[in-house]
């Protein structure tokens, strides 16, 4: 009985539809690392 109640409780708290879903990215909380590499070259297109 306890196991049944526990399972019911878990399903109510974490509905089956949410299981396995990747959390959506929250851009408002994010930190951005911006980087460049191998930049050296002509400073403008050569044509």
């Amino acid at each position: 009985m306890q196991k049944f109640l526990l399972a019911t409780l878990l399903i109510l708290v974490f509905p089956l539809s949410l299981w396995g879903q990747t959390p959506t990215f929250d851009p408002n909380r994010s930190i951005a690392l911006v980087f460049s590499s191998s930049v050296s070259g002509e400073v403008e297109p050569c044509g």
């Binding site: 959390p23 990215f25 929250d26 851009p27 909380r29 994010s30 930190i31 951005a32 690392l33 911006v34 980087f35 460049s36 590499s37 191998s38 930049v39 050296s40 070259g41 002509e42 400073v43 403008e44 050569c46 044509g47």
Partner: protein, 380 residues
């Protein structure tokens, strides 16, 4: 951040004039990077084309640190630059660790030989990362290293969350997973910027990655334009050209003498003409024979980055300038002609690899070897 390959381009034959031109451009890069607010830079092997000394001097001009944990003074075994820094961003302490591949020799003058060396970057990381982990929430490696070295780094130092790749001039729209780390590549030539967005929630890390193509939709920064024009003026001064760009000459007329003359190994197309009249005539009808004029018409004839592929034997500069080596001449494809036609001085046949040195994806996106070959093919 920048992961190297910035200050100087490949210099197979460093010479004083090429170094001066390189220093002028490196100065432009440093000033614009200061303007953009860069936080860190890890140099790569091309940045050391003229030695560690010029890079060290350049670091004094930068408003951000140069990071290289495994570039050491031979005598003291101490690092030349800071091994790492810790940046606190929105309450998150991010450790930025600089590492350079030790598979490529350091360039530089004879007096620098034995003064510096590159220690094994992975062994260096194994020593530093555990200590760094105690001081920060997240470790990011600025890794100017080969792809297999980066994977080895991820395996040997699993506390590194992100590896920002240098050395490989490729664009990867998605990160490569390697053990606990993600490896990011952000293209080359200032055409792209990589952006890693992340946040932590408890022990979980959420991250996403995107490549920003720096197209003309981004307006030029006024101060950056001023710096660019100062660079161009400095270059013209160095090359002994008049301050204002000369108007485009009539077709066939000699343009400004901006091409730097190659060494005696290159003899120029006029030397080929007496024996190869038929080939010379067909060459004159190709775009190769007008390659320099296209630069003149667009006021790009003083950009070393352009001259490499629009002149012949560039990089073998002497003091004076010469018009004899403008355009993509015979020797640009077949190699230096000095000594030819003596026995054993047969010039090389041209393969696709030779063409792709200039017809790369950035400059010649529609390049097709078979089709382009037809445009320049001449009698044997």
């Amino acid at each position: 951040m920048d992961t190297g390959g910035l200050l100087y381009a490949r210099t197979p034959t460093p010479s004083p004039n090429v170094q001066k031109m390189g220093e002028l451009k490196a100065d432009l890069y440093m000033k614009t990077y200061n303007l953009m607010g860069y936080d860190a830079f890890t140099p790569g092997e091309f940045d050391f084309s003229f030695g560690v000394g010029p890079v060290f001097q350049m670091s004094r001009q930068a408003s951000f640190p140069f990071l290289a944990a495994n570039l050491l003074y031979a005598e003291s075994k101490k690092p030349v630059f800071k091994p790492y820094i810790i940046k606190e961003i929105q309450g998150v302490k991010v450790g930025l660790l600089g590492l350079i591949s030790n598979r490529h020799p350091l360039g530089g003058p004879p007096e620098e030989k034995g003064k510096y060396y590159l220690a094994d970057p992975i062994e260096t990381a194994k020593k530093i990362v555990p200590r760094l982990r105690k001081k920060c929430d997240l470790i990011v490696a600025l890794a100017h290293m080969e792809p297999d070295e980066q994977r080895g780094l991820a395996q040997s130092a699993p506390d590194i969350f992100f590896i920002l790749s240098g050395h490989n001039p490729t664009v990867q729209p998605n990160p490569t997973k390697a053990h606990n780390s993600s490896i990011f590549e952000a293209g080359s030539r200032g055409e792209q910027m990589g952006q890693v967005d992340f946040y932590t929630e408890g022990k979980d890390l959420f991250a996403r990655y995107e490549i920003n193509n720096l197209t003309f939709k981004y307006a030029d920064h006024p101060q950056a334009l001023v710096l660019l024009n100062l660079y161009k003026a400095g270059l013209r001064n160095l090359l002994g050209l008049p301050p204002q760009p000369a108007p485009a000459p009539e077709p066939g007329a000699a343009g400004p003498q901006t091409a730097t003359p190659p060494s005696a190994l290159f003899v120029g197309e006029k030397a080929c003409l007496p024996c190869h009249q038929e080939q010379h005539k067909s060459w004159q009808e190709t775009a190769h024979a007008r390659a320099y004029q296209t630069l003149v018409q667009q006021n790009k004839s003083s950009d070393p980055g352009c001259l490499q592929c629009h002149t012949t034997g560039y990089g073998e500069a002497k003091k004076d300038l010469a018009a004899d080596f403008q355009n993509v001449q015979c020797e640009a494809c077949h190699g230096p002609g000095d000594g030819h036609p003596e026995p054993r001085k047969t010039l090389s046949k041209v393969g696709e690899d030779q063409c792709r040195k200039c017809h790369n994806t950035a400059n010649s996106p529609n390049f097709n070897y078979a089709a382009y070959l037809q445009k320049v093919r001449h009698a044997k």
